[in-house]
């Protein structure tokens, strides 16, 4: 009965949306409003004004950098939310259930992972910096690294992967993406520009391009590292089992 009502409502909503779809500009039409107004400037002058040959990247990191900062803030918020609900996986504690790894730690998985990990991390580093001339962005790099760490966790043990870094360092790294945006943004204010502006009065030509590049690299690094640490910590918190360990607070 309830399901029938839901289906009926959804059909009505679907009809409305399909009417909208049918009246929308033809897909792929290069003369439609959304492809001829804002976009012309991005495509025509993006590489020169914003400094990246990869047009979506310079929209993300330069023209609409405030939205990218918002993206980093949302990620940080969701991460704080997960930690507020689940608590952090305590470093160095042995979790009874997860330490017996779900993937049998035979020779083959361990060797393959040991061979793969350096390659993946190198690729992640490439992706991190490739956004300027080719396709790549810091966020994907961060995800690659965190995926690698999760792989290590699955094949080796939770104990191993949480031993490496102190909790204080990890916490700092998690905040790094928002911090990078704020530092670069406030620097923009101090150097007579606006928040998150990359060009300043008094700087021309090569000096301006150098400053802009450095700022975008700083932001990119911040996003990449923070994403890696955030997704890893989130997954480790999800794997953590309450009740198997003593709930003593690490101050």
């Amino acid at each position: 009965m309830k399901k029938a009502a839901i289906v009926l409502l959804l059909l009505g909503a679907g009809l409305l949306l399909l009417v909208a779809v049918s009246k929308m500009p033809r897909m792929g039409d290069s003369g439609s409003p959304d492809k001829t107004y804002m976009v012309d400037r991005y495509v025509a002058r993006g590489a020169v004004e914003a400094g990246d040959y990869n047009v979506p990247n310079d929209v993300l990191l330069n023209y609409r950098a405030f939205d990218s900062m918002g993206c980093a803030v949302v990620l940080f918020t969701a991460f704080c939310a997960v930690l507020a609900i689940l608590g952090r996986a305590k470093r160095g504690r042995s979790h009874a259930a997860i330490d017996v790894s779900p993937v049998s730690s035979g020779m083959i998985p361990m060797t393959v992972v040991q061979l793969l990990v350096p390659v993946t991390i190198l690729f992640a580093a490439y992706v991190l910096f490739a956004g300027h001339d080719s396709f790549g962005y810091s966020l994907q790099a961060g995800l690659l690294i965190s995926g690698t760490i999760i792989l290590i966790t699955l094949v080796f043990s939770l104990l191993e992967s949480t031993k490496r870094l102190r909790t204080g360092v990890i916490t700092f790294l998690e905040s790094l993406s928002v911090l990078a945006f704020l530092v670069v943004g406030l620097l923009g204010i101090f150097l007579q520009g606006r928040f998150l502006s990359f060009s300043f009065p008094g700087l021309h030509g090569d000096a301006m391009q150098a400053v802009r590049l450095i700022m975008m690299v700083v932001i990119g690094l911040g996003i990449g590292i923070a994403t890696a640490v955030i997704f890893t910590s989130t997954l480790l918190s999800l794997m953590r089992e309450e009740g198997h360990e003593l709930e003593r607070d690490i101050a």
Binding site: V21, D34, K35, V39, P56, C71
Partner: protein, 121 residues
């Protein structure tokens, strides 16, 4: 109000269909994890819709080298919207799943939740 325009906007129609399937999963399934799956389907549908917006017939998604003709580049703005949207969706799904984990710790059977109603516990 005819729907004839849908035939050349099939991507959008498919996205709408997926969106509705996602909402159905969120509302009609009792298991919280299945509801979260519905959320993911819904959000993916929206991203499909937005990316299809950016399509330019004969256009390319490439790096802009000097001397490039502007008109054949794919619209970058929907890509930006989707990119940020994916990150937001990932964060929200992580939060939703962490709530599911907590709920699961208290009640072992997620298919038949002992739910609380309105008007007080």
């Amino acid at each position: 109000m005819s729907l004839s325009g849908t035939s050349h906007n099939l991507n959008y129609a498919a996205a709408v269909l997926l969106f509705l399937i996602g909402i159905y999963a969120v509302t009609a399934r009792p298991n919280p994890v299945k509801k979260v799956m519905g959320l993911v389907i819904m959000e993916t549908a929206v991203f499909l819709f937005l990316v299809s917006l950016g399509l330019v017939g004969g256009g390319e998604a490439r790096v802009v080298t000097p001397g490039f003709r502007a008109s054949t580049l794919v619209n970058p703005v929907p890509q930006v919207i989707v990119f940020i949207g994916i990150v937001i969706a990932a964060g929200t799904v992580a939060l939703a799943l962490s709530m599911c984990v907590r709920i699961y710790r208290e009640q072992d059977d997620l298919d038949h939740l002992r739910t609380t109603g309105t008007d007080g516990p």
